[in-house]
Symmetry: D2
Subunit: 106 residues, 4 copies
């Protein structure tokens, strides 16, 4: 049995911070989607939008710890459950060895 966990390293951008001085909460869904690129490729090998097969029904994010500009983050993605026509993913964002966010996607 094989469990695939994908890891995507992301360098935070100035444009992804906000006036409070941290990474803005709306940046996290963007990073979580970026880390799902290998999953998209499994279902749409030619990366063609005309053949896109995935529709998101539900997402949740727990914001555990602030994320800062200046240090890379690691986004981990793995399949939690596979049904006949659906998929459930869990994702985590880590920075400097601290878990910063947990996300679930159906």
């Amino acid at each position: 049995m094989v469990i695939n966990m994908y890891k995507k390293i992301i360098e935070p951008r100035v444009s992804e911070t906000d006036g409070v001085g941290h990474i803005n909460n709306t940046t996290l869904p963007v990073w979580l989607e970026a880390a799902r690129n290998p999953i998209f490729k499994l279902f749409t090998p030619d990366d063609s939008f005309d053949n896109w097969r995935m529709i998101i029904l539900h997402t949740s994010i727990d914001y555990v710890s602030q994320i800062y500009f200046g240090t890379n983050v690691d986004v981990y993605t793995w399949v939690k459950r596979i049904g006949n026509s659906s998929l459930e993913l869990d994702e985590e964002i880590h920075q400097s060895g601290t878990i910063c966010a947990l996300s679930n996607l159906k």
Copy 2:
């Protein structure tokens, strides 16, 4: 007893669509935050980031129906629950009389 519901009308932007042809899922958190501006103002009347008081702990979004470029959306925001030091909000995004997304924020 008064229940405050805020309504923000948003005109979708080309940059908020994606290759699949709809509004990208990561745009919705941006709109939901935009619709919370009056809530921010209640807690930070001078809109100063130095005095910013709100930390997001959890968000969830149910994606009910696709959203398209070319027609305005209405984002409704209301306070679901007020605790001693916390707040829970519900938000909805509507387009053309159809509910497109429900969101909860703690």
Copy 3:
């Protein structure tokens, strides 16, 4: 003779600020594009991406004055020049009666 100038009022979003405390420079192209929606509609009346007719060749922006969260901005767009198969636009962003940015698009 009629000269059409379009005006779009935009409410800045928290996600559009950055850690320096102002509106991030990368937000301005997003607003400038948002203000071009009526121009898109002239050339693609059904707002359909399949019939999209405009390709951007060149943009420039002069950043004249900082833009802040908390106050609406006005984006003005007008046609500078129409050729046989091309269009040149000028755009300006104002906040609180001050011109904050000038842009040219070919």
Copy 4:
């Protein structure tokens, strides 16, 4: 004499495409800024926004060729000119061996 050219590899994100099917024009300034991170670090070694020293006065972008989702891009950044209190940068975005955009920043 040493000329520093920085290279940043960026993996396009679904959220950075638009309904026309390519990378949206407003994504390019975001990538160009992301590629300037090493320049920021030269002037603000601790990545602190309180000590931020750079103000953008002018940017221009020539859009030479469409950029697609599914293939990494390379962003090259180099200093064109250094004055007493100012800096001029040139940047290029390449994909699949083709130059897609040229940018100048003052």
